[in-house]
Symmetry: D4
C-alpha cells in the first residue's frame, strides 16, 4: 500500500486555484489527500456567533469565529505532509502568512504560490519555503515529481 | 536573582513603537531584555548580497537577504519568553504574521499590537494571541502586570 | 479516504451529554470516533483494588484506581484531534480541569462545555479553549462545521 | 555554582501557604527561586479590562483577564523545575487542576498540597504527582531533602 | 473502526508470561496488538555476528548483537501505547529496566509485572509505572478494563 | 494486522543496491515498505528549473533542485521506521551523510551500507548507526531478523 | 565564559567511585558540575515516610520514597549534558539501568562504568552508551578529553 | 546583559579557517562563544583506544574514537545558536555533512563555508543552509550583521 500524501492548501479564497490543483491531482492520478480551511467566506466569518451565540461587536464576533476555524486549521496543518500557501494580489491575507509560519516551526515542507510581482513583500515567507510557484499547474507538477519522480 | 524576561518585538519598522516600549520598560524598571529583527530597512534588504555577493535578480537578492535575516529572527524568537507582533496600517507585513505563526507553533505567548481598524483582517492572528493591544503603552503595562502584578 | 476525527470527551459523568453528542454525530453522519474515560463511577473508583489487590485505606485505593484509569485517559487524549471538556454544576471535577491542562500543553484544540453560570470559576480553562459551548448540540454543530464547513 | 531550583507555587490564594513555604525556604537557606501567579484576586480578575479596555459582559472581562494571566503562568510553569499545586477546601480552583495537567504533560515533577479530606476528589491529580503533602512545612522538607539530601 | 492498542511486552524470556498474556487477550477478544523483543536467547545473543561477521571477543559480539536488537526494540517501544515490563526472580534483567526508563521518558504508560518479593529492589521502576501487577492474568484484566471498562 | 515497517533507502544511485534489497525483501515476504529519494540523476538535478523556471547559474539551478528534492526526502525520512544509508566508493555523497545526521537527530535507527575500505572516513556516521553492513544481502537479513526473529 | 558541563553520576552507592571522579575532576581543573542522586541509602529509603507520614507496608513506603527521590533524579538527569551510569558487581541496581534508559530516550550522551565481568548482562545498556569505562579514572580522562581535547 | 551567541564550527581541520573566524570575531568585538570538535587529528582518531583500551582492528579503534568524540560534538551542536559547516576541497568530510544534517533536524540555523567549485556536490547541504559563504571573512561579517545589524 503506497503512502498517501496529505497536502494542506492554505490562503486565498477568491480564485479557483484549489479547484485547479484538485483537477490536476486527479488527472495525474496522484495518491494525495487535499485538505483546506473552510473557504466559504461568509461561513468562516460567522461560524462562531452562528453556533455559540451573537456578539455585539465585530471584534468578538471575529474572535469567536477565528477560534472555531483554528480547530480545523491547526489540526489539518499538523496532520499534513506538505503545506501549500497561496497569496493573491489583493487583501492582507495575514492568515496565510500565519499558517506558513506555523507550518515552518513544525518543520513541514512549504510550497508558496503567488505572482512574482508580490515576491519582494513575501521574501521572508518564500525564504522559509522549499519551492516558490507561480501557477497551480506548477504545484501539481511539483507534487507529481516529489511523489513519482516524473518530470 | 529574579528572572529576566526576554521579549521579542516583531513587525512594523516605520514607526517608533519599539522606542516607546523600550522607554516604558526603562521607566518602569522592568527586568526585560528586548530583542528585535534588524530594523534598518536598507540593510535588511541588502544584507545577503552585500556580504555574500551580488545577484542579477531582485528575487535572489531577496532570497539571500531574507535567509540571512532568518538566522537572527528564528534564533531570537526561539529564545523569547513573550513575542509582541506589531502591524501598522500600511504595507503587507507578511513577515510579522509569519513570525506570529512561528511563535504560536512554538507555544510562545503572543501579544499583538495594532489599530482596531485592521482587526478584522487580523482575526486569525489575534485569535492566537493572549492579548490584543492598541498602543505601545498598553504593551508596557501588560508586561509590567505580568512580571510584577502591578496594575 | 477522508480523515476520521478522533474526539475525546472528558469530564462529567452524571448527565447524558456524551449520549447526546454521540447521537448528534451519528445523525449528522460525521466521520468522528468518540473516545472517553471509563464513565462507570463505581468501576472507575474500584478498578485498581479489584484487579491489583485490596488496600486498607481510601487514599491508596484511590491512588491505584486513578493510576489505572490514567493508562486509558492519557493514551486517548494523546491520540485525540480535539478534546471536549464538560463541567457540570456539581462536584469538583478536578480531573476534567486536569485533562484540559494536559491537552492544552500537548497543543490539542479544546472545546469546553458548561453553563454560563460557572463561567467565572472556569475562566482560565475557557481562556485555553478554542470554543466555549453551553449545550451538547453546540458541540455537534461545532464538529459538523469544523469537519464539513456546514453551518 | 550550585544549581538554583525554580519552584512554581500554583493554586489557592486565600491562605498564607505561599508565605509559609517562602519563610521555610529562607530559614533552610535553600537555593530555590519561588515563582507564582499574581495572587491579588482583584488585580487578577480585572487586569485584562484595566489595561486593554472595558467589556460589557463578565464573560469577556474574564476572557481578557485570564488570557493576560496566562502570559505569566505558562511562562513560569514552563521554566519551573518543580510545580507545587495547592488546593484549599473551598472554591472550585479549576485553574490549579489545569496547571497540574499542564505541568504533567510537560513532564514537570508535581507536588500536591491539600487536606486529606479532599483527597478522593483529587485522586487523578494526586496520581500524577510525585508527592502528596498536607502542610507547607512538608513541602519545605521535601524541597530540602530533594536538594540537599537532609532529612 | 475502534482503536487497536499496541502493547509492548518487555523483559524476562525464561517463563511463559507472554504466552499467558497472549492467550488472555485472545480469550477476551481485546483489540490489542502485542509486540515484543526477539525472545530466542541464542538468536538474540548471536544476531550481530551471524549477520555482520564474527568477532574475536565476547564484548564486540555483544555490542553488535545488542545494537541490532535495538533496531527492533526502540522502534516497537516508540510505537507502543502501553509498555509492560516483566522482571523474573533470576538474572539481572538490566535491559528490562532500561526499557522501562526509555518508555518513561517517552511518556508511555508502564505496567510492571513481578513478584512482591523483589519489589523493594524495583521501587524506582515501580514508581514510574501506572500499575504494578504480580500475574499475567492481572495484566490481561488491566488491559481489558482500560480498553473496555469491564471489571 | 501486523505492523508494516517503513524503511528509507538513502544514498548512492550508481549501483543496483536498492534493487537487490527490494528483491530480497520480496523473496523473504517481509512486511516492509521501501522508500527512497528520486534516483534518476538527471531528473533530480533538473527538477527545480524544469518545473519552476530556468536559472542562469548552476548554483541557483542546484538550489532550486535540491530544495524540491528535500520536500520528498525530509517527508519520507521523518515517516521511516529505519533508515539505511549507502555509501559507494566514488563521489562525495554528502547528501547521504546529511541524511544520516538528519535521521540520527530524529532518533531513527540507522543501518549504514558500505565497503570496509571506506570505513575510516565514515567512522562518525558508523558510530551513529546501529548496524554497519557491507552487502545488500546483509541489510535484508538484518530486516528479516529485526522483524521476524529469523536468523 | 567557557561552558560548564553538567555531569550526572547515576548508580551504585556502595563504593567510592563518585569521590574518585570528583577528586579527578578537581585535580584536572575541569569546568564540570557533578550531580547525583541522594546516596545516603537509609535516607533514600525512608524519605517518603519520614516527611509525608508512615505507611504500614514496605511496598507503600518504597513507593513514597522512590517517588520523592524521582523529583530529584528526573530534574537533574534532564539538566545534565552527560550521564555516567555505574554498575557494581552486587545488587540488582535496576534504578541505574532505568536512568540509562531514561537518559537515552532524552538523547543524552551516556558513559557506563563497570567491570568487564558483567558486560554481557549489560550489553543492551552498553550499546546505548557512547563510552564503556572500567575505572573512575577513565571517566575523568574521558571528560578531560571531551572538554579540553587533552589525551 | 546582552545575549551571547554560541556558534559551533564544524568540519575541515586542515586549514586555518577557525583561527581566521576567531580573529575576526575578536577584532569585531562580537559577543560570540565559538565551539568546535577536537581538531587534533591524531587525538581525535586515537582517543577511544588511548583512554578505554587498545583494539586489534582499525574498525573498532575508529568506533571507540568516533563515539567518544560524539559526546563532545552532539552536546555542543545541541547547545549552539548557529552552526557553521566548512568543507575543504580534499577528503570526504562525511562527518561535516552528518553534523549539518543533525543540526538541520534540530532546527539550528546553518551557514556553510566552501569554494564554489564544490557547490554542486554540496547542493543538498547548501539547500538546508540559511547562508552559503566562500570565505571565513564572510562568516564573520554574517555574524556581525546578524548580531549587531552592521553591514
Amino acid at each position: 500500500m503506497a503512502k498517501r500524501w496529505s497536502v494542506y492548501l492554505s490562503g486565498e479564497i477568491h480564485s479557483d486555484w484549489r479547484e485547479r490543483i484538485t483537477a490536476g491531482i486527479e488527472a495525474a492520478g496522484l495518491p494525495v489527500e487535499l485538505t483546506a480551511p473552510i473557504t466559504d467566506h461568509g461561513a468562516s466569518d460567522e461560524c462562531g456567533v452562528a453556533i455559540l451565540g451573537r456578539e455585539d461587536t465585530r471584534a468578538w464576533t471575529d474572535h469567536k469565529g477565528a477560534s472555531v476555524n483554528a480547530i480545523r486549521t491547526r489540526t489539518l496543518i499538523s496532520a499534513a505532509d506538505v503545506v501549500v500557501v497561496r497569496f493573491g494580489d489583493k487583501y492582507k491575507q495575514w492568515n496565510a502568512a500565519f499558517d506558513a509560519g506555523y507550518a515552518s516551526a513544525l518543520g513541514k515542507p512549504i510550497i508558496t504560490l503567488h505572482d512574482e510581482s508580490i515576491g519582494h513583500a513575501l521574501k521572508e515567507v518564500d525564504a522559509a519555503a522549499l519551492a516558490v510557484a507561480e501557477t497551480p499547474d506548477q504545484v501539481v507538477r511539483l507534487l507529481d515529481y516529489v511523489i513519482t519522480g516524473k518530470l
